[in-house]
Symmetry: C7
Subunit: 97 residues, 7 copies
């Protein structure tokens, strides 16, 4: 029984990216190097409401890789997989390679 | 004497979903697996007021299955059944199967 | 010397409903069953002011039976009877039978 | 040298009503009965300012008998008589006989 | 080198009125009687800004005798004389004889 | 390598005025007399933004001698000279001789 | 795998300027002299939203050298280089030589 979540308002559902702890060639990476706190956007809400009741669209979209704050967010488990919900405002930025 | 409650403003009346603690075939589930905090929307208020006194409709509707925050909400007992009142903003999202 | 109170702004004057502690047939009810915190609206204020100074009417009316929060409200004694003043926003909902 | 005070903004000058502690026929009243915290409006300010700088008139007028919160207000002594200043919002309602 | 201060925004420069501690005929007044906390307006700022950046004029003018709150205000010494700066909102009212 | 700072938003760059601790004729002044906390405006920001994103100009200009609050402000060292940054709102007033 | 970050809303990505701790001629500078807390703007967000949902552009641009507050900002590591994210409002000013 898989569940899909449509976040409410300006909430964003994130699947955190667990960085590899060793390189492809098998060298163990020091812990500091691997610590970038990023995640993939899985689903976004319709946005917060402005003073007139209209939605302000969230600034990220499904598939974006985003930089996350070290603290905050709400842990959610859907279909045995762990996700996090963040407010759009709390996302620090979008990462591009 | 059954009572029906029309929540005020942007309040939402929720009947929490108690997850099965064992599978149909009788296997006991570990506690962690069963912990998704969800509920069914039983009734919704007319919405909060914007600056001009108009109602901003709530973002969920009767029958929706919603994801709830771990804390918060007000316990209410109506006709011997336990419900919870949540503010529309505090509902984390809508669950679809 | 009976006194009548017109609540100010969005305040609502409530007469709390004391639930019967035994049934008509005389059976004592356990304390938990009787604990629904409700009251009858006796008088309502003209409403809070919006940004332009206009009144936003309160969402309940005289005679409504309302669900009250467990805490809050101001106790008032008028003509030897006890009442409570609540802000319109703090009323949880309207009860219908 | 009697002084007259014009309250500023939405402040209201109140002369508290000290309830009689015994009836006309001389019977001492129990303390609880006499405790209604009321006062007479002596002077009102022009009102608070809205976002455009216009005054929002206060909701009580000179001569009104009002219900006061148990705490709050600023004690003021004018011409040897004690008064209290309350913000218009803090007045609980207007009492009518 | 005398200095003149033009208060900024909605600040008001006040010279506190020190009440006489004995009457003209030389009778010492009990401390309570003399305690009315009043002052004379020496200078006023252009007012606070509303949402559109316009000034909201302060509600007192030079020469007004005002009632002051017991606490608050900023002590300022100009040309060896002591003054106090208060925000327009904190002035309790204007005194007339 | 001298640096010039353009303050952001409604910040104001101030060079504090250190009052002489003795008179021209060499008499030492008691500490209290010299304590007026003033400064000279060196640079001003473009102003804070109003609700529509427009700048609200700051209320002081380069060269003004201003009265400063006893606490607050951010110390900044530019080209070996010490300055302070204050928000326009925190400046108490403009001093004229 | 180099990563580029587009900051969200009114966030600004800063590369802090580490001041030289000795002069070109090799003289060690005392610690105080070198302490100006500045940085170079590497990337800026689209700006915060106003009440109508429009972006208010940030007040600095890529390449600007800015004065930073002593505390605050979020440390971010991108491609092994250390950066800081600041809100546009928290940047104290722009430095010019």
């Amino acid at each position: 029984m898989a569940k899909r979540l449509i976040p409410s308002l300006n909430r964003v559902l994130i699947e955190k990216i667990v960085p590899p702890s060793k390189t492809n060639s098998g060298i163990l990476l020091p812990e500091k190097t691997t610590k970038l706190n990023s995640g993939k956007v899985v689903a976004v809400g319709p946005g917060a409401r402005d003073r007139n009741g209209n939605f302000i669209p969230v600034s990220v979209k499904e598939g974006d890789v985003v930089l996350l704050p070290e603290y905050g967010g709400t842990e959610v488990k859907l279909a045995d997989k762990e996700y996090h919900l963040f407010r759009d405002d709390d996302i620090l930025g979008i990462l591009h390679e």
